[in-house]
């Protein structure tokens, strides 16, 4: 395999396995989980290899069918793509590794289609991140969205309804993106990102370009669950099966954020984006409102998964805020937070999955101090991820917030600075509430003195535990070694 072929191999590994799983499933249904793990593992390995190749040789362009861009479609494997591919594929690999017992418990009969659709979902995500063509991006966006509707529908009784609402909003979002793209196409006559980026400064501020910009931002904002277009997210993540939410929560909204970064910073660029009015400051305000709204709503939730979902709304706000600041520090904060939040949210959702698997629920009100004895490792990982979410050093979460804070100060945007700081405290409120339940005995229920109920260790099997532990370790390691990531991200700041 040469470096030239690499950009194709990564997404299409998933396509191959999406097809192979049902074919092999005819013969042996049991094989679908190992195959899905192999597929995502292969893709993760390839992205790692590709990351190294990118660092050594620079961006890789793969033209489809030998047609040179801007006529043909190309896959561009640049710094941002390499980074995002690595993040989402690693997380997907870990989540799928974890999923076997959950799948057997929660949707036994649908495992084969589930894993097949999962592969399609990842194909969509990988395609979005890889492609250098805006319409191709739309197609992959719809592939991933359709798969995620399916994945979310596999869940509890209310899951299909949540999936349907997501479908309605997601389709509107996709259509808005497509419409906006049409306006840009009218203006520039090209669909290639690099080509269009070279032309757009000449058209900046023209009505069709502005319309296109706004429509595309709104469309992607819906997919990325940017406040106030986040309505689909809490229900979808809550009602979906544990594995679906653990897979989609860390990757899905990140890919939405990727499109926003790609379109706003790379395609339009900071100056064209703000040519007519400050689109960036509007985005920043929305992101700030989303951060506060998500955090406050998370405090009000009693279901762990719903709490995490609202927390996602607020964390997406961080990423969007970072990109709206449009300075290097903010950009580093946003992209670093993509990595951090992917690791943290995957870890937290997998903890929720483990608890649901053993306890049958993840209702915070029913948590008690026996969990500490029953699931020592799971809860320890939860603690690490929670502390990181609050943004305390030396966890990863602190550093993305640190760069965001630097970014807001560089723009002298004191309102957003206050928002970040306040949301740290709000995060602390809802995470320490859980930790308090788990690590402390309930003072209202005094157990008879000296008669502690004997609690057995009911920790989940190593297969389910290992991904959680790896992610928790990753959070600490990323935090301490964030310098190498940051210097990498700094290099790809456009302009």
């Amino acid at each position: 395999m040469t470096a030239y072929q690499l950009p194709v191999f990564i997404p299409f590994t998933y396509l191959a396995f999406a097809v192979l799983i049902p074919l092999v499933g005819l013969w042996k249904r049991k094989l679908s989980h190992p195959m899905a793990v192999t597929g995502s593992g292969l893709a993760a390995g390839l992205s790692l290899y590709g990351f190294a190749a990118y660092v050594n040789t620079g961006p890789i362009h793969h033209t489809f069918g030998g047609w040179q861009p801007p006529i043909g479609i190309e896959f561009v494997y640049d710094g941002l793509s390499a980074f995002f591919l690595l993040v989402i594929n690693m997380v997907a690999f870990l989540v799928l590794l974890h999923s076997k017992p959950v799948a057997a418990r929660e949707f036994r009969g649908k495992r084969m289609p589930f894993y097949s659709v999962t592969m399609l979902l990842m194909l969509g995500f990988n395609g979005i991140v890889s492609t250098g063509d805006l319409f191709n991006l739309y197609v992959f966006l719809e592939i991933s969205s359709l798969s995620s509707y399916g994945l979310i529908a596999i869940g509890n009784r209310h899951a299909p309804f949540a999936a349907f609402r997501y479908l309605v909003l997601g389709t509107i979002g996709g259509s808005m993106y497509l419409l906006g793209l049409g306006f840009l196409y009218i203006s520039t006559g090209t669909l290639n990102i690099i080509d269009m980026a070279a032309m757009l400064p000449h058209f900046a501020g023209k009505p069709p370009v502005l319309t296109g910009l706004i429509l595309m931002t709104v469309g992607i904002g819906i997919k990325a669950a940017l406040f106030p277009m986040h309505g689909w997210l809490p229900d979808a993540y809550t009602f979906a099966s544990s594995t679906s939410s653990a897979l989609i929560a860390p990757t899905g909204t990140k890919v939405g954020a990727y499109i926003l970064i790609r379109v706003l910073l790379y395609l339009f660029g900071i100056e064209s984006m703000d040519a007519v009015f400050k689109v960036s400051s509007v985005l920043g305000m929305l992101a700030g409102a989303g951060i506060l709204y998500g955090s406050i709503m998370a405090i009000a939730q009693s279901e762990l998964k719903r709490m995490l979902a609202y927390s996602s709304v607020s964390q997406i706000g961080y990423i969007i805020m970072g990109l709206s600041l449009a300075n290097p520090a903010g950009f580093v904060g946003a992209v670093l937070h993509v990595l951090n939040h992917a690791a943290m949210k995957a870890c937290l959702f997998l903890v929720a999955a483990n608890l649901r698997f053993r306890e049958g629920h993840s209702n915070i009100r029913l948590f008690n101090d026996t969990y500490r004895k029953k699931y020592p490792w799971t809860m320890a990982c939860f603690t690490v991820a929670a502390v990181s979410m609050v943004g305390l050093p030396p966890m990863a979460g602190f550093f993305s917030k640190w760069y965001l804070v630097l970014g807001t100060i560089a723009n002298a945007n004191w309102v957003l600075l206050a928002v970040i700081l306040m949301s740290s405290l709000l995060n602390a409120v809802y995470f320490f509430r859980v930790l308090e339940k788990v690590y402390m005995k309930n003072p209202d229920k005094e157990s008879p003195a000296g008669e502690e109920a004997v609690v057995m260790n009911r920790e989940v099997k190593p297969l389910m535990l290992a991904p959680v532990v790896i992610l928790a370790t990753g959070i600490i390691v990323i935090g301490i070694m964030n310098m190498s990531v940051v210097s990498y991200i700094l290099k790809m700041f456009p302009g």
């Binding site: 502390v387 609050v390 305390l392 050093p393 030396p394 602190f398 550093f399 917030k401 640190w402 760069y403 804070v405 630097l406 100060i409 560089a410 600075l417 700081l421 740290s424 405290l425 602390a428 320490f432 308090e436 690590y439 402390m440 005995k441 003072p443 209202d444 301490i480 964030n482 310098m483 940051v486 210097s487 700094l490």
Partner: protein, 495 residues
Amino acid sequence: MVESFAPLFPVLVSLGAVPLIVASRNKPNLRESWTILAALSKFFLVLNLLPYASQGITVEAKIFEISPGLPLLLRADPFGVYFATVASGLWILTSFYSIGYVRGAPEKKQTRYFSCFAVCLSATMGIAFAGNLLTFILFYEILTLATYPLVIHKENKEAIGAGRQYLIYTLTAGVLLIAGTAIIYSSIGQIDFRAGGILGNSAFPSNMMVWVFLLFLGGVGVKSALMPIHSWLPSAMAAPTPVSALLHAVAVVKSGVFGMIRVVGYVFGTEVMAGFGLNDILITVSGATIILASLMAFSQDNLKRRLAYSTVGHLSYVVLGAALLTPLGMAGGVMHIAAHATMKITLFFCAGAIYVNLHRQNISDLDGIAKVMPFTMASFTIASMGLAGLPPVNGFLSKWYLAMGSLEGHMVVPVLILIVSGVLNVGYFFPIVHRAYFHRGVGLSGHGEASPFMVVPIVITALLSVLLGIFPNLFFGLFDIAGVVSASIFEGVAR
């Protein structure tokens, strides 16, 4: 300046002890010996740095870059070594005392107790040796997190409430500190601690300078229990007594005032403090705190709460010393860190011994206990004399320098505050002594002194207080180092 990894080892040694403590959780004797071993080795590692400190030489360890241009920097300057010596030296005594206390009480979850204790001490060393604000914040937050389990150790309603309050106050403080640091970093591009300050007069416009200072005041002011943000400290007395003793007389609150001197002397610098009228803010706040806290101590019947309010008052002595902006005042403040540590730890140890031995917490129940606990009460008397500022205990010395310092700066009000506060200290401590010696006790027959594990540390700390009062340079030349610290801060201005 010497480049060496020597400052790193004291930080790591107790962190390294944590796995050992956890691993030997089923063998209490082995577990405690790990604690003692870690305490002793930490102390000796700190002592290794002392020769450098007394000559005014800084030992610097650049661990690695944690953010572009910002290394994780451990720098053992005289002030840091001074604080580290005090904290690590008193940890040895506290370890012995803890063993007696938790076994005598008897407390549950002792493994968690000892491991969190070890982490706290690591964090304190980190704070002492932090070479820049980011490193300082890192260890400051670790200290917050590691103290939380100790505060809620008893897991009753009161402790959990105190824990929540503690988290709210300290996390808010951490956030303010991060904001202030980020603003300074964005403005002048560096956040190293340097004797004499890094901010020039032109770093910020004048109202901005005040705001930044207020951020820092909030950040370190919470842990140094300035009024009106002190109320977590009396509540945190719900913790076991050794915790109160070490953490709320030595590690946590002293980290706060240590940070205050760092901010005043090493970040803002005396020139800026005076130029923008920031010292007036600080003098007002700390002076008010000294008087109000002493008055509030009168109304407390719970011994530990009375001690807590006394702590609040005495911490402000240190802050006052820093705020005077005179070499003698600064030296007095620095000296009061050690002086108050030895005296207050004696008092807390006494309170703990009385609680374990007689199960009495209220001052009104202490009638006649000097008969059964002569050593304890003798030590108590010595320490209260010291806090009231009576010679020959070391409290007199630091107060003397504070008074000299304020006269040096031609300020009379601080002297008056010191005198009034001395009288008030006598007023709220001597009734206790009076009760213990001259009232007839009830139900004391059959009780003797507490276990030697507890009494020996009490006597040692009391003796230390007296010896340091008579021969200030007897141990490690601490008195001289305080002078060196103060001189370096003011020489930095001259240079």
